[in-house]
């Protein structure tokens, strides 16, 4: 199969697979990609005969994830009404019947992020990034610590604003903040256990973090949907006009956050988006939605592209780590082939997103999310059990307990990222094994 055909087939297949799968909640692109690579690995000679096919397919999956994952993130994240003022703009839009408009706003951000990546960042990357990486490498460890400190210190109290002053009011104010700190530390401890003495079978090490991430982020979301009785309100398919200024501001902020997160080790797209939002003083909820879409795309696709940049070959993100096992980058030919795959995937994904979103809205509006959430909970539990065994289920259960804390105490779910931020920051600073020895793990 010629290289052009591999790129086209791979990107189309990846995008269509993403469209079929990623509007199921709790399915992550790296889990699906891992299973796909496992399947391809069982087919003799695929990687040798068609090396660009899996790379293009992974690109299509990632771009498709950035687009279609917005569907469950908005449509199946119905908050309790009392928490309305602490929820994200996407959820607020859903409760006001404008979930479809929110999905399209986010997809406009994805489009802007893709244009930034393909037309601006990627052509400059081979000349700028290798030098930037050499300069920044000795400083990355304290940059990660700075991100951690900002993440923890920037959380604001969500209680203690009403009633008579005193210790009780102070306690109510600090409850969510202490819950956030506890989440970060407990997740960090779990991270140390998984990094230094993982209980998972050795043969399942390639998915060592999957049970933890499923437990920290997916299970609490699904569990609260199952327990709650919230109904997705009726939705309108009317779409607001979005001004060019709002679109560009949101897209630029999201692209900045995504690029920062893609380059930095251990920093994910959510953290990058939070930093960019603070840096650009975002207030408009539509701008926030556009920024989220741009950040997600630039983070996931950018992290993959960093592995392919000639002269750099930086491994960031689960996609690059998966690819690295089977594939060695071959210079500008492969780099531009992947950019082409990104463009094809983006165009196809943006074309099929609106009808898929309309179908999802028609199917889900006016219904409870309990049924879908039950099915997804069983699906992810089965997946974790099948890939990692009972030890993985124990890790998932523990992580679920940790992940429920921010949901129930109204603190930031981002603090769960302590599972990778804390061990990696300690390791980069050279004190990882010291702390592990103090914990008697080594």
């Amino acid at each position: 199969m010629s290289d052009i055909l591999q790129v086209v087939c791979g990107s189309v297949a990846g995008t269509l697979l993403a469209a079929a799968l990623f509007w199921v909640p709790a399915l992550h692109v790296y889990n699906v990609a891992a299973l796909a690579f496992l399947g391809l690995g069982r087919m003799d000679g695929v990687y040798e005969a068609m090396p660009l096919l899996p790379v293009a397919g992974l690109t299509g999956l990632i771009i498709g994830f950035a687009l279609f994952n917005t569907l469950p993130a908005i449509l199946l994240a119905v908050p309790d009404e009392s928490a309305f003022f602490t929820v994200l703009p996407g959820q607020r839009a859903l409760m006001r019947g404008r979930g479809y408009a929110a999905i399209l706003s986010s997809s406009l951000g994805v489009m802007l992020g893709l244009l930034f990546l393909v037309l601006i960042a990627a052509p400059l990357a081979p000349w700028v990034l290798p030098a930037a990486a050499r300069v920044l490498r000795p400083h990355l460890h304290w940059m990660v610590w700075a991100v951690i400190c900002f993440m923890l210190l920037s959380e604001w109290p969500k209680g203690g604003t009403r009633g008579q002053g005193g210790w009780i009011k102070l306690g109510r104010a600090w409850r969510s903040l202490l819950a956030g700190l506890a989440t970060f530390l407990l997740a960090g401890l779990l991270g140390f256990l998984l990094f230094y003495r993982s209980p998972l079978p050795v043969a399942a090490s390639w998915q060592s973090m999957m049970p933890a991430f499923v437990g920290l982020f997916a299970v609490p979301w699904l569990l609260t949907n199952v327990i709650g009785r919230a109904v997705i309100p009726p939705q309108t398919l009317v779409v607001d006009r979005l001004s060019v200024v709002t679109w560009l501001r949101g897209g630029a902020a999201g692209a900045m956050g995504g690029a920062f997160a893609a380059f930095m080790p251990a920093v994910t797209g959510g953290v990058g988006g939070m930093l960019a939002g603070h840096a650009t003083s975002q207030r408009d909820p539509r701008e926030f939605l556009v920024a989220q879409g741009a950040c997600k795309l630039v983070y996931y696709a950018g992290a993959l592209l960093l592995f392919l940049v000639p002269g750099l070959h930086l491994t960031r993100g689960g996609g690059a780590w998966l690819l690295r096992v089977r594939y060695a980058a071959h210079g500008f030919h492969d780099y531009f082939a992947v950019l082409a795959a990104a463009g094809i995937s983006g165009a196809l994904g943006l074309w099929i997103l609106p009808p898929v979103a309309r179908l999802a809205v028609r199917m889900l509006a006016g219904r409870q999310c309990r049924g879908v959430s039950w099915c997804c909970l069983l699906l992810v539990t089965g997946l974790v059990g099948a890939l990692t065994g009972w030890a993985g289920l124990l890790v998932m259960a523990t992580a679920s307990g940790i992940g429920l804390i921010p949901v129930l105490f109204h603190s930031r779910r981002m603090n769960c990222l302590g599972i990778i931020l804390l061990p990696i920051a300690c390791r980069m600073s050279g004190c990882g094994h010291v702390l592990a020895a103090w914990l008697r793990l080594v």
Binding site: G41, D80, E81, S82, A83, F84, F85, T86, K158, G159, R162, G163, K169, R172, L186, L189, L190, L193, F195, Y196, R197, S198, P199, V202, A203, A204, S205, W206, S208, I227, W321, R324, V325, R326, Y327, A328, A391, L394, V395, A397, T398, A399, S400, G401, I402, L404, I405, L408, F409, H410, R427, G430, G432, H433, A436, A437, L439, R440, L441, V442
Partner: protein, 186 residues
Amino acid sequence: MQRNTMTEAHKTKGAAVDRNPAQCPSCERFIGTDAVCPYCDADSMRAPTWRVLRWGAGLLALIGLGFLYLMARHREPPRVQAGEVGSGMNFAYVCMQGTLPRDARVSVRGAEVEKLTFVLEDDTGSIPVSAYGKTAAAVVARVGTPARGDRILVSGNLRVGPNERVRLVVEVPAHVRILRRGDSAP
């Protein structure tokens, strides 16, 4: 302050279903996510499942972490041989034992040790082993530079690269132990 009792109207199930959960059922002020009204100390009358879940989540997290910690403390890194390593073991923390077919190499920049590399050979094959930066310097300070013929026990992270090229990366200096020096050692 004594908790105010609920008014009769709010005790009926129908009223509870129609009631805005963000409002106090007693004084009807906005209380948001508070479980107890900060103005009149009335209970928010939210479903008890959520309160049970709060305590349950914390207990699950602490008990689960406790079990995982005990498992970790009593679990040695699994012992594997070079020929057994596959792509599924990427990132695994394992222990390997073998002999060096040739002297280890130490890369130095200025006065600092930058990198230590050697090949570990056992009955099933061989695997390159690396240590970087301060870890490499600490290994060299503790056990010296491993030489040909040395029998070594080493633990580290497996890294699987393109074409399933595998290497072992040492993270903890104390996890490199020379069991027996080779013929070339003084």
